[in-house]
């Protein structure tokens, strides 16, 4: 009887240890100077989005952010349900427009948005409401949100993509852009473009 009880307690302790380690398995937000966690995104069905990201017309399946054809990628972690993200949407659109209108930056800086906890329908609702021209991705089950440190939204990450395919996080910050021109100037300077 004592033997059974001992085994019983041992199994419970093991389960508790597994449970607590899984609960504690939190990720930090991307660190400046470091690399991105392994984020996989679906290749967009929309041909304009696909072309913008330089993923080829016939591409399908998934891609990783450093595979985007750019020297710098700005990632916005947002949510359709986040009032700050809603308020920031016109500014992020303005940032996109300024990049696209500048021949020195167009094609070199790309923006994507990842909707934390949002379904495709919800991301589509946000895109339509704010006329967002850059690609937005749904992260319905918080899979990406979890590995980027469960950040509050909006959260902006700047990633420099090197010619050898390697990459480096150059910006990682919670909150709004704090001025479109200032943000663009800062991010261009940090990337060395």
């Amino acid at each position: 009887m004592k033997k059974i009880l001992g085994c019983w307690l041992l199994v419970i302790m093991l389960l508790l240890a597994v449970a607590s380690s899984l609960t504690a398995a939190s990720y930090p937000p991307p660190v400046v100077g470091g690399t991105l966690p392994d984020i996989k995104l679906p290749i967009p069905k929309d041909s304009a989005d696909k072309n913008y990201l330089g993923l080829g017309f016939f591409g399908f399946g998934s891609f990783k952010i450093p595979e985007i054809k750019a020297k710098l990628v700005i990632i916005e972690i947002f949510s359709m349900y986040c009032p700050y993200c809603q308020r920031e949407a016109p500014n992020v659109n303005q940032l996109y427009a300024k990049i696209e209108q500048n021949p020195a930056l167009k094609g070199k800086i790309k923006i994507i948005g990842i909707g934390a906890g949002n379904t495709s329908f919800e991301v589509g609702t946000f895109k339509k409401k704010y006329n967002v021209s850059f690609p937005l991705f749904a992260d319905e089950n918080y899979v990406i949100h979890k590995i980027v440190g469960e950040v509050r939204t909006p959260y902006f990450i700047g990633v420099k993509i090197n010619s050898d395919g390697s990459h480096q996080v150059i910006h990682s910050k919670l909150g709004n852009l704090e001025g479109v021109d200032q943000f663009l100037e800062m991010i261009v300077k940090l990337s060395g473009l």
Partner: protein
């Protein structure tokens, strides 16, 4: 051998219980709009009430005070608008704080289906006032079911034993008949498309 099997079953049950808490996502993607003012109650029992209403039956009428000060009754929409009632458990909590702001940018969708949204919690008006101020200007009425405490939530059968309501959606047609009920897992936000699909059926 029989005793041993009983112990194995018991251990497996306890294990499943422990792991069920582990795999519930703790991430909410909470907006920075609320800064550090959100109280996180942790993972709660998904449902904790017994419904008192049924699909196909008339929705219980109510009159509640809105944050704006006006009195809003369900019956005032009879013959005029489809009604979506969104009960959320409590102000200043993680999932609730990022539910109505999403509906706030979906007014076009509600208009398309000739529907009004009524947001209800059991919080008092001052609490709802400060909380909803963080969400921007909401286009839909936010109603306080504070006193008698949770009377409307109780009449629908969505008042939990701890005094907050469930996270529940009710779609009521222009005749006042309940057409859809979703008493959702309190820890999770129902997808927007669930409402849209149900409103589509009323067209």
């Amino acid at each position: 051998m029989k005793v041993y099997s009983k112990h194995v079953v018991l251990v497996l049950l306890i294990g499943a219980f422990i792991l069920s808490f582990t795999f519930v996502p703790a991430a909410y993607g909470l907006s920075d709009a609320y800064k550090n003012n959100i109280y996180n109650p942790g993972i709660l029992k998904s449902k904790n009430s017994v419904l008192k209403v049924k699909i196909g039956k008339p929705a219980p009428d109510f009159t509640l005070k809105a944050v704006s000060g006006e009195m809003v009754s369900l019956r005032q929409y009879r013959g005029k608008k489809n009604v979506v009632i969104s009960f959320v458990p409590a102000a200043w909590t993680p999932v609730c704080s990022d539910q109505w702001p999403g509906y706030n940018i979906a007014q076009d969708i509600f208009d398309e289906y000739d529907a009004i949204l009524l947001g209800i919690t059991v919080d008092n008006i001052p609490t709802l006032f400060s909380w909803t101020n963080q969400m921007g200007n909401l286009w839909f009425p936010v109603l306080s079911d504070f006193w008698p405490h949770g009377k409307v939530a109780a009449s629908y059968g969505v008042l939990r034993s701890d005094g907050v309501s469930e996270r529940a959606l009710f779609v009521i047609d222009k005749k006042g008949i309940i057409r859809y009920i979703d008493v959702h897992d309190i820890n999770k936000r129902p997808p927007l498309e669930d409402i849209v699909k149900e409103l589509e059926k009323l067209k």
